[in-house]
């Protein structure tokens, strides 16, 4: 009977197929620390199958049911770091609502069910020599592995890290350790607004020869980089967010409109994205 094709033993990963590139696995939590009052770093012990991933890709996490929170859908989280040699996968996340609230209660030694890796990651083109990484809040989580990829490729990026206040700045040392030049801006210092960032980025284009922009999330920042990019003929990529159900491409929940082939088309953030070309974002 062909049904036996996927009547897998209890111990085997469920319904494993030889061509599977997306996996649902239970990962043991190695550590789970507060980075500051809002963000937590979750480090998982992950099997090699899911560590064949790229910066910009994400996982879909099954948050636990707790007495306070009963999230239902999975929650998408960018890969903050992945390390095949240590079998480690980590996420940096902000505690927001029910899902992340429930996640925050997970303790080392417990397990988290993750699905991934998902989506299209960043593409660091060979001709891009001096990338600018502009990250705010959770965007840091998404861009951190890209900074590492730059280091691997021998490119020295400039990273602008933005936050509400200096205490909430994160990962600046990590970015520096990947050889990035780090510039910090914060709301409290009054230098994180578009009015301040525009001249800052324009200046970096001139002084550092920035030739590619990478950012995520905030549509204000995307809009700003699109304008500066258009003025200077600089391309780049953006990682976007959208409410998701499946995360795999089945449900069409996560569409956004993009400029492609001369017209506006709806694309799935989970599948055609989450990384898109800077200028195609509408």
């Amino acid at each position: 009977m062909s049904a036996s094709l996927c009547v897998v033993p209890d111990s085997a990963p469920l319904g494993a197929s030889p061509h599977a590139s997306i996996h649902e696995v239970e990962c043991r939590i190695k550590s789970h620390e507060w980075v500051n009052g809002q963000y937590r770093l979750l480090v998982l012990a992950a099997p090699p199958s899911v560590l064949d991933c790229e910066p910009g890709q994400f996982f879909h996490l099954l948050c636990p049911q707790t007495d306070r929170f009963q999230p239902y859908l999975r929650r998408p989280m960018s890969i903050y770091s992945y390390d095949r040699s240590k079998s480690e996968l980590s996420f940096l996340y902000k505690v927001a609502g029910a899902g992340t609230g429930a996640m925050a209660e997970l303790r080392p030694g417990e397990f988290l069910n993750v699905v991934g890796p998902l989506g299209q990651g960043f593409e660091m083109r060979p001709e891009w020599r001096r990338p600018l990484l502009l990250a705010r809040g959770v965007g840091l989580a998404t861009l951190a592995p890209l900074a590492r990829e730059c280091a691997r490729l021998g490119k020295r990026p400039v990273a602008i890290c933005s936050a509400r206040s200096p205490e909430l700045l994160m990962s600046t040392d990590l970015f520096r350790s990947f050889g990035a030049e780090v510039i910090t801006v914060t709301d409290t210092e009054g230098n994180s607004g578009i009015e301040s960032l525009t001249p800052l980025v324009e200046g970096l284009v001139r002084s550092r020869g920035i030739d590619a922009f990478f950012t995520c999330g905030s549509s204000r920042l995307v809009r700003m980089l699109q304008e500066i990019g258009a003025r200077h003929g600089i391309g780049g990529q953006v990682a976007l967010e959208q409410h998701m159900a499946c995360g795999i491409g089945m449900c069409q929940a996560c569409v956004r409109p993009f400029q492609r082939d001369g017209g506006a088309v709806n694309l799935r953030v989970c599948r055609e994205g989450p990384v898109f070309g800077l200028q195609e974002v509408l």
């Binding site: 009977m1 319904g15 649902e24 159900a245 089945m250």
Partner: protein, 311 residues
């Protein structure tokens, strides 16, 4: 190993587990081998291109979800050229779900998609019937009968009518579908619902209202499955909130000959292969040698009341 096969009219499925329309696509082949499924059921398509509804298209609510995806569609041509061939490599019946705004359009469309590689057509009659106040076809026995009768003469393929929980006349609609020539019923689609964000005062779906699916729907669609299985003699396929093997067993016991798994695949993309494995185990534990032996075995306590008094 128990005999998991089940017959839906002329079609024999290797097991009773299949996806629900709109919660399945080619991409799932990257998670597990789609060959294991009882059938492949594709997202509803319309004849022409459509964009679907505004975002946000989904939200979660009390252990369930709402969706207002709508029916974004690349059109019939793109579907026949790109999607049907993808499934041809599997030895699994391909069921395609279609929708239209009038009975005649449904019929024309059914004819157009009756191509090689398609094993059955699922009729999504939960869409608005523009000739009937915009009420969905599935709301009324008359409209349901009409659409199926016209499709029946337009295609030789088996027709599965997917019912809606929004009607107050489930049994009558089921009987009308059977009388008009449907080969099977699917019970059911999502239930019209709504969510508001109390903090912002905004509706949580771009389309204001949306369809409830997931575990919260199960008690309703299980009831419909039971009602329909008793009221018609064509096979009934259960659908609504199935996530665990117990859910599958409940539907089979209630009278379903197969089941469709929807939202659960979003929560765990390996749900369907797991259910197939667990079904085999569950039958064995019960000393049953086939799925057939379980179907419709529900035991009722006391006398069934003619006029249900439930409130």
């Amino acid at each position: 190993m128990a005999d998991l096969s089940t017959k839906i009219g002329a079609l024999t499925l290797k097991n009773p587990i299949m996806p629900a329309s709109g919660t399945f696509s080619e991409e799932l082949a990257e998670v597990f081998d789609l060959e294991c499924l009882g059938a492949h059921v594709t997202k509803t398509i319309t004849r022409g291109k459509r964009a679907g509804n505004p975002v946000p298209r989904v939200c979660e609510i009390n252990g369930a979800m709402l969706n207002s995806i709508g029916i974004p569609s690349k059109g019939a041509r793109a579907f026949i050229d790109n999607v049907v061939p993808f499934y041809a490599s599997y030895d699994v019946p391909l069921v395609i779900s279609i929708s239209a705004n009038t009975a005649d359009e449904f019929a024309r469309f059914a004819e157009e998609v009756s191509v090689r590689g398609v094993a059955a057509i699922e009729i999504n009659i939960s869409c608005p019937n523009i000739e009937d106040d915009g009420k969905a076809f599935a709301m009324r026995p008359g409209a349901t009968g009409d659409v199926i009768r016209k499709m029946r003469s337009a295609t030789p393929l088996p027709l599965w009518a997917k019912l809606s929980p929004n009607t107050g006349e489930v049994v009558e609609v089921a009987q009308a579908a059977e009388a008009a020539g449907a080969d099977a019923l699917v019970t059911a689609n999502t239930m019209l619902a709504m969510a508001i964000d109390s903090r912002t005062g905004r509706v949580r779906l771009g389309n204001i209202m949306g369809g409830l699916s997931g575990p919260a729907l199960k008690p309703i669609t299980l009831r419909m499955t039971y009602q329909c299985a008793r009221a018609v003699s064509i096979p009934v396929i259960g659908c609504g909130g199935i996530a665990t093997i117990d859910d599958v067993l409940e539907y089979l016991i209630a009278g379903a000959r197969a089941v469709q798994v929807g939202t659960a695949t979003f929560i765990s993309p390996t749900t369907m292969p797991r259910l197939i494995r667990d079904l085999d185990k569950a039958l064995e534990e019960r000393g049953l040698s086939s799925v057939d032996a379980l179907i419709g075995t529900v035991a009722v306590t006391g006398e069934a009341l003619t006029l249900a008094e439930y409130a």
